[in-house]
Amino acid sequence: MQTVKMVVTGPFNAGKTEFIRSVSEIDVVSTERRISSEAEKIKNTTTVAMDFGRITVDKQLVLYLFGTPGQKRFDFMWEILSEGMLGFVVMVDSTRPESFREARHILETFRAYAPTPYIVAANKQDREEAWEINDIRIALRLDPNIKMLNCIATQKESVKSILLELLYTILMEIERQKTYS
């Protein structure tokens, strides 16, 4: 049995746990804890180590989805989680522009850990206060070549389309390497 993984990262409360929960065939093994810090009480619990979801591809292959903890003080986990990943999704909370800089920091850190393909998912696009995807792209100073998609992490179809887009990006990268090798 072969196992591969993809990582879902992003700032605190970006929707990483929901994202994995929407497609995982097992109940997400979530290491959530009640939030004690007043500043972070925009939700009741947060991921402190990682989320862990699974998709059985076939008899020989299993895909694991790892969600990173969103708070900066757990960033020591990021490098461990990024090891050997196929690619990663950076989740951004479209309704919280104050988290964009943090998202960019996380994105750059992951890029430094591993030169794997990634895409950016602008989550919570169903909310009225969500920023336009193009505005978020500018705020994140994303290269035009980087794919950025609307996302609603609670909807399975939306999550599927993000994962598929990441997989297409990985394929393109393999092709590109083929051309140059």
């Binding site: 059985t56 461990i80 989680l81 090891e83 890029r111 990985i170 092709e175």
Partner: protein
Amino acid sequence: MTLKGNLNDFSLSQLLNLISLANKTGTLVVEGQSEAARVFFREGKLAYAQFGQEDNSLVGILHKTNRISAAQYRGIKEKSEGLSDKELGLMLINANYFSQQDIFSCLQGYFTEVVNKLFTWMEGFFHFETNLTPPNDMIMVKVSLENIILEGSRRIKETEYLKDEIPSLEMALKFVDRPGSNLRNINLSKQEWKVISVVNPKNTMRQIADAHHLSDLEIRRIVFSLLQAGLIEIVRPIGRHLPVHSPGSLPIDQVPVNKEERKSLIHRIISRIRSL
């Protein structure tokens, strides 16, 4: 009891506050990662400061603060051999080179800058020695700590901001293909020119900083201003290997090296996700 500890646990702002409020007299010794500093306080006010073993004589400070040229520095140094700083100061005032005010403001500025730089040290050990004082022949100043603490807090914020903007100095720089601003209107400082001259995807920011003796804050500040001007961009260094991670910390197989196998693997995952 000697006041000692780690800057991680007790910040420089807290230390200076304590020294100021308690009207302390003595020397604060701070040992950073690669250098040390000694800061002397008299009754809760900054009196004197020195980085490592740097030339902290009056003539040395006048030179470092660009009040005199290198040639003047050498000349004065030669003629003032055997004179204390106080005697030299009097000589310079009597010869109408400087006023007393000039000398004091130069020293105040220099000592304050030494302390300000300490605010960018996030790690290091400190101890406060009540019995350690600078030599008597040095000129002391008297600077209140309130403004220094305010300026220090501003620098801490700047350091944190720049660290957020430029998290890793192991990345390299390259010129943008199409600079966004009008190049003719850009004025670069001497230090910015130094960095610009070695912009190359092969050189990491750390290497550039080491080559030009720039601190982490200084290189980040310069790179940030060049980024803002749209002249450069941050890229992965060419020809350098990424950090090697210890294998086996998670039960994940290595992705196949063979490209056809990798493609096949990705296609299988795509089919599965489509069918979810």
